[in-house]
């Protein structure tokens, strides 16, 4: 039956690792803004058309 404590120990270690990861993510501010990162990813996917394709001011 002693094996069960080994298993519990192992699982607890894994769980604590995840808890630590959560606390770290929280502290580093990853949950502070849940909106802009999602948008950021959309914007960056588009090709950068800024400098080369400047068009005249009026048309």
């Amino acid at each position: 039956m002693g094996i069960i404590f080994l298993l519990i120990g192992a699982s607890t270690v894994v769980a604590v690792i995840f808890l630590t990861a959560f606390v770290w993510a929280m502290r580093s501010g990853q949950y502070d803004d849940d909106r802009s990162p999602a948008v950021r990813i959309l914007g960056d996917q588009r090709p950068d058309q800024s400098k080369t394709t400047n068009i005249p001011k009026t048309s």
């Binding site: 404590f5 949950y31 802009s36 800024s50 068009i55």
Partner: protein
């Protein structure tokens, strides 16, 4: 190349669609272009500002902005909090904003309240495409902050601010309060961590308690001991980390000789932990660690919801938030920015269009056209000539003026008015302890009595049972559900009210609002709309071409009534009179506006000029050779003469807000309405909604506060609805002060709640909802007490097994939370407060 093709091809299709729909909407801000829309690049724009932003974005290849959201743009609106860009050159302002500056690379954080959608984020994070000197810009959407790193040798902070203003995202600068103040709002990170730890421990403890729940074979004491030890270990972070907030709160309460809801909770937590440790160490049983974990987890959930629903709005405002931080001082021919506090008597300052006058001053140069709506709610500006005194708080409309400072800021009229009323905001409020703390006091007394009684009963029979029974009573009586019902019920009410347009400061306001039985309204700016006028013409009707002439002349005038007239007589594209009953002249083909020549304006009389060969005069009766007509209260007459002939006059009357009369009628169900106004007379439209004895005219700000106090002395609980700073005193004095606001960035005095002016008619339903919410809380208290009584009956009999505790505690919490949330949602639905529109 790709961009130019797209921008030609796509908008063409858009334009066709719009034409068939007979509706023009601005390509940038999405507002309907009612009047003369501007055409640019095959798109319609409602104003030059929107067109300019589009031009800038198109030039930089940033038109994706429009692809992301339906109507992303922000129409540029000037208000007092918009700050002059040159002020950002001031070292004291710069120091406040700059986070880091080294080797010419500078990082600043600006507060940009206008950002509201995905497009905004996208544009603000692509600023480097517009200005190469910007290295990186990052948005923090929740706090509406924008961090920008830029090369300062190429691009000054001031230029950066100017750029942001050009694209419609003017940063806000308010006494530096936003950086510290905003951080307090929202859910603190620590609470999430505590919640996470508690949840983690709770789950694991439950897991290790399963053998006990299932009545597992206890023949292996080694195994059971091992599980108990693990549970004990997991409970340590819960008790010493997650639950600390309850102990500190209870301790603070006790030190102030107050029993708050956290006192019985702390008592319960201690009892749980002590009993569990005792059980485990003496081998009596597995302990109540699972209940402990669950209790703290649910309680923290309640705390989280409370913080989550707390409005991230600043309700306590200082005067500095409204006034320009820095003004332009004129020294000789030089203009230099100085901070308001440093102004000395005799200094000359420049106040430009749309800026607030920060100090009392003497008009030295220019024509003052002062809008005092911040102080009184009255938007019609008053004229001031050279030599007149202008009081602080007025807003200049029109050309820049030069003022001579009469007294320093600290002694100004505005400062005194402010301090008289808002000295200490919440402390002066009539004390009304939160219902939950009252309940908590009796509850605590009852729990202690029961545990003492049960203890002494068992002491006479079986000494061994005293400790288990006393702790069991304390454990099971822990008012977990009680503590949850209030934050969830009131928090949910606040959320629903916020969606309906009424934003409350905190959940205590819900309870105070449920008790009101008198309501005091301010008139101007509260019941009447700020800038909406009803317009009709008296006299021989004007032909369209004559109206066009009037428009052409009126638009040259500085007088506010002329501006109203010019706006309403504007030429329109669509020839559908039904769509615009309020506009008087509808012309199909000719969008040309003729030019008025030889324009001459006589202050106080009117304006004259030549339009298309005819002399036009707009102004007073005497100025246009007309006869003065009888005026009703609240009306203004603008006389028109064309070609030397008096043609009649426009009657302009300020309109009451939509549904105003119904709203007052609706409030009668709970409260006696009163109308207090600074004006000498009341518009008939508003008057009709009130009985004559309910109206008080000619009230000064102290009168308003005095009336509210008088009502309170008669035992009434007063709700005050106002808007301007002249209501600030009454709003403070009242039990619940609601300030009505037309724009989110408007100047509202400190109050308990902010009501979106478009939803004024929802006020009765909102009050009704708070009353229902209060009843729902009482019902939920009854439910949780039933659970407690059931639990205590187990406890005094000495039969509270860990299993029963583990079931009873979460069950009661879940029932109570579910009940209040559902009940409040249903109540709001019945009152029609569900949708935003």
């Amino acid at each position: 190349m790709f961009v130019s093709q797209r921008s030609v091809a796509l908008p063409h299709i858009r334009g066709v669609e719009q034409r068939t729909a007979e509706k023009y909407t601005c390509y940038h801000c999405g507002d309907a272009c009612l009047e003369d829309a501007l055409r640019f690049d095959h798109k319609d724009f409602c104003c030059p500002g929107c067109k300019a932003v589009y031009g800038l974005l198109q030039e930089s290849g940033l038109c994706d902005y429009y692809a992301l959201t339906e109507r992303p743009g922000v129409k540029e609106e000037q208000d007092a909090t918009t700050v002059r860009a040159e002020l950002f050159d001031l070292p004291e302002v710069r120091d406040k904003l700059v986070e880091y500056s080294e080797d010419g690379i500078t990082r600043v954080t600006l507060h940009v309240p206008q950002m509201h959608c995905s497009s905004c984020i996208w544009l603000l994070e692509n600023l480097q495409r517009i200005e190469p000197a910007i290295v990186r810009s990052r948005v923090r959407f929740t706090s509406k902050d924008l961090s920008i790193t830029f090369r300062e040798e190429h691009f000054s902070l001031r230029q950066l601010v100017e750029l942001l203003r050009r694209i419609g995202y003017a940063p806000l600068l308010s006494g530096g309060a936003h950086s510290e103040g905003k951080r307090g709002a929202g859910v603190p990170r620590m609470l999430y961590i505590k919640l996470g730890v508690a949840g983690f421990a709770f789950g694991n403890i439950m897991l290790f308690s399963f053998p006990d729940y299932l009545g597992a074979d206890t023949s292996d004491p080694q195994l059971m001991k091992g599980f108990q030890f693990l549970n004990f270990m997991f409970s340590l972070p819960v008790i010493f980390f997650s639950s600390t907030g309850f102990f500190t709160s209870a301790w603070t309460g006790l030190r102030n000789r107050m029993v708050n809801i956290d006192v019985p909770i702390a008592l319960g937590i201690i009892a749980l932990f002590a009993r569990s440790v005792w059980d485990v160490t003496t081998g009596h049983g597995p302990g109540y660690f699972d209940s402990l974990g669950g209790l703290i987890f649910f309680l923290l959930l309640g705390r989280w919801y409370q913080a989550y629903t707390y409005q991230a709005m600043s309700f306590d405002r200082s005067l500095n938030d409204f006034l320009p931080l820095v003004v332009l001082r004129k020294r000789g021919s030089k203009e230099e920015p100085v901070s308001v506090g440093d102004l000395q008597q005799g200094d000359h300052i420049i106040v430009r269009d749309q800026e607030l006058v920060p100090v009392d001053g003497l008009l030295h140069m220019g024509t003052g056209n002062i809008d005092n709506s911040f102080i009184t709610g009255e938007p019609l500006p008053v004229r001031r000539n050279v030599g007149d005194t202008i009081r602080a708080g007025g807003r200049q409309r029109g050309a820049a003026i030069e003022l001579e400072v009469l007294r320093p800021f600290e002694q100004s009229h505005l400062k005194r008015l402010w301090e008289e009323h808002s000295g200490s905001s919440t402390a002066q409020r009539p004390a009304m302890p939160k219902m939950i703390d009252q309940v908590a006091q009796r509850f605590t007394v009852a729990v202690i009595l029961i545990s003492v009684a049960a203890g002494s009963y068992w002491a006479g029979r079986d000494m061994d049972m005293v400790w288990p029974v006393v702790t069991a009573v304390l454990i099971v009586a822990c008012p977990c559900a009680l503590a949850l019902s209030m934050p969830f019920a009131y928090g949910h009410t606040m959320r629903l009210l916020g969606k309906a347009g009424l934003f409350l400061r905190d959940s205590a306001v819900v309870e105070r609002m449920a008790h009101i039985d008198a309501v005091v309204f301010d008139k101007t700016g509260t019941l009447t709309a700020r800038e909406a006028y009803e317009l009709h013409f008296e006299g021989s009707p004007l032909r369209p071409d004559e109206m066009r002439r009037v428009h052409a002349l009126a638009r040259n005038s500085m007088h506010p009534l002329s501006a109203v007239l010019a706006g309403r007589l504007r030429p329109r594209k669509n020839a559908d009179p039904a769509s615009a009953p309020s506009t008087h002249w509808v012309d199909v083909q000719d969008l040309m506006i003729p030019t008025a020549i030889e324009v001459h304006e006589t202050p106080g009389r009117g304006i004259e000029g030549m339009v298309e060969g005819l002399g036009v005069r707009i102004g007073s009766a005497a100025f246009t050779d007309g006869t003065e007509a009888l005026r009703e209260a609240g009306e203004a007459h603008v006389h028109i003469a064309i070609g030397g002939m008096h043609r009649g006059y426009y009657v302009m009357r300020k309109r009451a807000r939509t549904g105003m009369a119904d709203m007052v009628e609706g409030m009668r169900r709970f409260a006696t309405p009163w109308l207090l106004t600074g004006d000498a007379t009341v518009d008939p439209e508003v008057q009709r909604a009130f009985h004559s004895e309910e109206v008080r005219t000619g009230c000064t700000p102290p009168d308003k506060a005095g009336h509210v106090r008088h009502l309170q002395e008669q035992g009434h609980r007063v709700l005050m609805v106002g808007d301007g700073l002249n209501d600030a005193g009454a709003l403070q004095q009242s039990d619940v002060g609601i300030s009505v606001s037309e724009t989110s960035a408007a100047l509202t005095p400190a109050s308990d709640a902010i009501l979106d002016a478009r939803h004024l008619q929802r006020l009765p339903s909102a009050v009704q909802l708070t009353r229902r919410a209060r009843r729902i809380v009482i019902a939920s208290l009854a439910i949780s007490l039933t659970y407690n009584i059931a639990g205590v009956s187990f406890a005094v009999a000495g039969e509270l097994t860990p299993l029963i505790a583990a079931i009873l505690m979460p069950l009661s919490s879940v029932t109570v939370v579910g009940f209040v949330t559902l009940a409040v949602t249903i109540a709001a639905g019945r009152l029609g407060l569900h949708n935003r529109t």
